[in-house]
């Protein structure tokens, strides 16, 4: 699946998007965050305060408990500040 990062999450991770292939036991958004954090200091820094990172699955807002099976695109970003 494709992972996208925006704003300071993008800056901390160090890239805007990448293809990821999490192992089968990674089922929820929360599982995926734990797995991402294990991949390096840049991910650990981006998700240091998990509660402030928002998630969208296939371009719709999603909760940490949402299942990622079937999703093509997951995005991580700070709380929105548009408008």
């Amino acid at each position: 699946m494709k992972a996208l990062y925006f704003a300071w999450v993008r800056e901390r991770v160090g890239l805007g998007e990448e293809e990821i292939a999490p192992p089968r036991e990674v089922k929820s958004v929360a599982d995926l965050v734990i797995w991402l954090k294990s991949r390096g200091d840049n991910y650990a820094a981006a998700f240091a305060n998990e509660k402030t990172v928002r998630v969208a699955l296939d371009r719709s807002h999603a909760k940490p408990g949402a299942l990622i099976a079937g999703a093509n695109e997951i995005a991580f970003f700070p709380p929105m500040t548009g408008g």
Partner: protein, 150 residues
Amino acid sequence: MPLTILRVQKEPFDSAAETAPLLADCGDIGALVSFTGLCRDEGGTLAALEIEHYPGMAEEEIGRVIAEAYARWPLEAILVIHRCGLIHPGEPIVLVATAGRHRSEAFAAAEFLMDYLKTRAPFWKKQHGDAAGGWVAAKAEDDAAASKWG
């Protein structure tokens, strides 16, 4: 059929000219409310605002917010234009306009759209300038404003 206009764009816009189409077929429209959000200069410390967005989701999420507004209020037209990229003090950032028979629904829907755009549409502001700097933090008051719509 209500008229919907929805754009995410880099270019500045003219609020006045943009709302004109909402009144093109205006026989039944008694109220037009428009909101323009502008880039403040923050006492001269802000050189520019950079707005990052999530292409695709930004348009989809604004579309969902507009659909929700039509479901809540009987409106004839809704317009939302949101800019991305570099914006200088004094320039417009966002334009929301609503048109309907009566003022109460036009006002409520415009305020609802802004409250929801602030907290749900995937845009992020970064400040460039002297004192100001870095990503703008989300405000608790914006969450409170959005939550009042239930």
